[in-house]
């Protein structure tokens, strides 16, 4: 009897070298980026704690390890003007887009003060005010919605003559999604009509338990852009400066009416697919390799090395964010449950 083959560690791709000209940032910009990453990390750690304490329910997908992407891309956009479209792993995108941590936390607690009024939950975060289009639980379904928002910007400018309509949309999704038709269909339409959109792939190598290489004939996702005639860029998703640089260029391109960009960020999730995932398939060696590439550690070292921050500056930010996250939990705990009399509210626009 032949020996049963186990899945070996998924082959590591060569981490792309940084873009040749990394953007320069000011101390203040550095602090904004660092704070946003720390908020993402601390918020998610708190979610795990609250989930195990029975304060939040259902499927909860944490973003730990991928922070350089959310912060690096969304902070290259205009807050409250540009559009952000996420997936089921959406807490940190919402935070980067400016949705207050307490309203995200309250949503996860199912409270009336949640950003989706307790109707959505972890996978359905929305905020019209912060131009967060969702929160989409099924694979790929956010991409067409984001493409529609981008179409709308073009439409306003070209049909309605609104010169100020230069908003850009960023659609985030994972490696697993890039085998779904909506990905290809929307790359085609966005390139066809030169829509102002960034397709940001967070390639964390695993679609739950399906290794990227086992599901994908051509695992280098950024290369798929070329057949649709749009630029595809591969970037180290653990390096916020690299992501931020690539994102700024893509945003500028989109804003100038030159069309979409596909950005493949090579990254890793430090936790299981969701808090319900036993995470048995990823090897210890693989995890350790990626834990060592923690994007927050990398960026804090960069900030200190570049004299953009002191260790004390960073500690102060961490302390401030920890307090903010703790306050978010307090707010969520104290918030009222949705009114049962409003069970039917929000089905129709008139409600």
């Amino acid at each position: 009897m032949s020996e049963v083959k186990t899945t070996p560690m998924v082959q590591e791709r060569m981490i792309p070298s940084s873009p040749s000209a990394i953007v320069t940032i000011t101390k203040q910009e550095g602090m904004v980026l660092y704070e946003d990453m720390i908020l993402g990390r601390f918020f998610e750690d708190k979610c795990a704690e609250m989930y195990y304490r029975g304060k939040m329910f259902g499927f909860v997908h944490l973003y730990n390890g991928q922070e350089a992407i959310s912060s690096g891309v969304i902070k290259a956009m205009r807050p409250g003007e540009d559009y952000v479209c996420s997936t089921y792993r959406d807490h940190v995108h919402a935070l980067s887009a400016g949705v207050p941590a307490r309203n995200v936390m309250a949503e996860l607690f199912g409270k009336a003060t949640g950003c989706s009024k307790g109707r959505g939950g972890s996978m359905h975060l929305f905020s019209a005010e912060h131009r967060l289009l969702g929160g989409f639980a099924f694979i790929g379904e956010g991409i067409p919605v984001a493409t529609g928002a981008a179409f709308q910007s073009k439409y306003r400018r070209e049909v309605m003559g609104d010169e100020s309509a230069d908003q850009v949309t960023a659609a985030f999704f994972g490696d697993g999604t890039t085998n779904n038709g909506q990905f290809f269909e929307c790359l085609n339409m966005a390139a066809l009509w030169k829509l102002p959109i960034l397709f940001v792939v967070e390639n964390n190598k695993w679609a739950i338990g399906m290794a990227h290489d086992r599901s994908t004939a051509q695992p280098e996702i950024y290369k798929k852009a070329s057949v649709f005639g749009l630029p595809g860029v591969e970037v180290d998703g653990m390096d916020i400066m690299a992501v931020h640089t690539v994102a700024q260029a893509a945003v500028a391109r989109a804003r100038a009416g030159e069309g979409p960009t596909l950005i493949e960020c090579l990254t890793y999730r430090f936790r299981g697919h969701s808090l319900a995932d036993p995470d048995e398939l990823r090897s210890k060696a693989e995890k350790e390799l990626w834990f060592a590439r923690d994007p927050i550690k990398k960026f804090s070292a960069y900030l200190i090395e570049q004299n953009l921050a002191t260790l004390e500056d960073l500690k102060a930010i961490e302390k401030k964010i920890q307090a903010q996250v703790d306050q978010a939990v307090e707010f969520a705990l104290e918030s009222p449950e949705p009114d049962p009399a409003e069970l039917y509210r929000y089905i129709f626009a008139e409600d």
């Binding site: 559009y83 479209c85 949640g114 950003c115 989706s116 009024k117 307790g118 109707r119 959505g120 359905h124 929305f126 905020s127 019209a128 289009l133 969702g134 929160g135 989409f136 639980a137 099924f138 379904e141 991409i143 067409p144 919605v145 984001a146 493409t147 529609g148 928002a149 981008a150 179409f151 709308q152 910007s153 073009k154 439409y155 306003r156 070209e158 049909v159 309605m160 038709g181 909506q182 269909e185 929307c186 085609n188 339409m189 066809l192 509210r345 929000y346 089905i347 129709f348 626009a349 008139e350 409600d351």
Partner: protein, 327 residues
């Protein structure tokens, strides 16, 4: 306008609303240069340009999602399903996002969207082009569903659907596009939640919609000659269903025949009969008779196809049976 064909009534509705509101636009397969598979948008691209009559690639799920994203951010898109059956490919976007997103977002976004096109059983188009998706979609929360049946109601209902701030599935019927009717010269809108009493009567309430309205009216000609007096109600709105109008009629006739083109199992009629039982059971003098299409894929052969859908003679017989029943 004298003798307006139904497809032109729809075109007028779109044209009027587009001329009034620059956020109204049409997208779908061949809606622009080709003018739509049933010419509902013929030449509108010449007046409004390619972006407002957006010819899309054949990617139903994605362009439907795109319309939803555009609606969430302030446009009022009208999607044409070249054949409504094709929208099975867009089921995810219609159900999850058009239907449910407003609710799951806690009211953050509204989705003013019309999804319109030809449905129903045509003439030997084969099973896939002969579907009645209204039955499949009726369970999706957050959708409104409308079925037009005459040039007059097609125009008035479509104008209201375009103005509505919610997603509306708007079913036309592939065999009704060439109906003719004199339309009012002045502008008009029809409510999306009201049934129409097509013929007032006292013997029995016949509830129907879309093309079956015309089968029912054909049956009326025979029934009148034989002294029967049926009340014919065209539902127009399939979701919500106008139970106010239905209830008033049942309190008068105490008998109901449902005539529909969708399949019997899980159809619109199934929902109506269940709701009548919930609401008006005590008013009924006889069990409701339900005439539906057969629970089979619509066959290509013309004779078999005729056997699949309800014919006027069956309506005549059902009415006689329920009215003649000794109480």
């Amino acid at each position: 306008m004298a003798d307006t064909l139904l497809f032109n009534a729809l075109r007028e509705a779109i044209d009027e609303e587009m001329s009034k509101d620059p956020t109204v636009m049409v997208m779908g397969e061949d809606v622009g240069h080709y003018g739509g598979s049933y010419k509902v948008t013929k030449d509108l691209y010449k007046k409004y340009g390619d972006l407002r009559l957006l010819d899309t690639p054949i990617a139903e799920n994605s362009f439907t999602g795109m319309a939803i994203g555009a609606a969430m951010t302030g446009l009022r898109p009208i999607i044409e399903g070249m054949n409504m059956g094709f929208l099975l490919l867009a089921f995810n976007q219609i159900a999850n996002n058009a239907g449910m997103l407003r609710y799951t977002s806690g009211g953050n976004f509204k989705i003013p969207l019309v999804i319109r096109g030809p449905g129903g059983v045509g003439r030997q188009l084969g099973a896939e082009h002969s579907q009645r998706l209204e039955a499949y979609f009726q369970a999706v929360p957050g959708l409104k569903i409308v079925a037009c049946s005459t040039p007059y109601n097609a125009k008035g209902l479509l104008k209201s659907a375009i103005r509505d701030n919610n997603p509306v599935l708007f079913f036309e019927h592939v065999l009704l596009y060439n109906l003719k009717e004199d339309l009012p010269d002045e502008e008009y809108y029809l409510p999306l939640d009201k049934a129409e009493i097509v013929r007032s009567g006292t013997d029995v309430t016949v509830l129907t919609y879309s093309r079956m309205r015309h089968h029912a009216m054909q049956a009326v000609k025979t029934l009148e000659k034989e002294g029967y007096d049926p009340e014919i109600i065209d539902l127009l709105s399939l979701k919500p269903i106008d139970f106010e109008t239905i209830g008033a009629s049942i309190r008068k006739t105490h008998r109901v025949v449902v005539v529909e083109e969708c399949m019997r199992t899980g159809g619109i009629g199934a929902e109506i009969v269940a709701s009548i039982s919930d609401r008006f059971f005590d008013e009924l003098d006889a069990p409701v008779i339900r005439l539906s299409s057969q629970d089979i894929p619509t066959p290509y052969n013309g004779a078999l196809e005729s056997l699949t859908i309800v014919q006027p003679q069956q309506i005549v017989e059902a009415v006689k049976k329920i009215v003649d029943k000794q109480l």
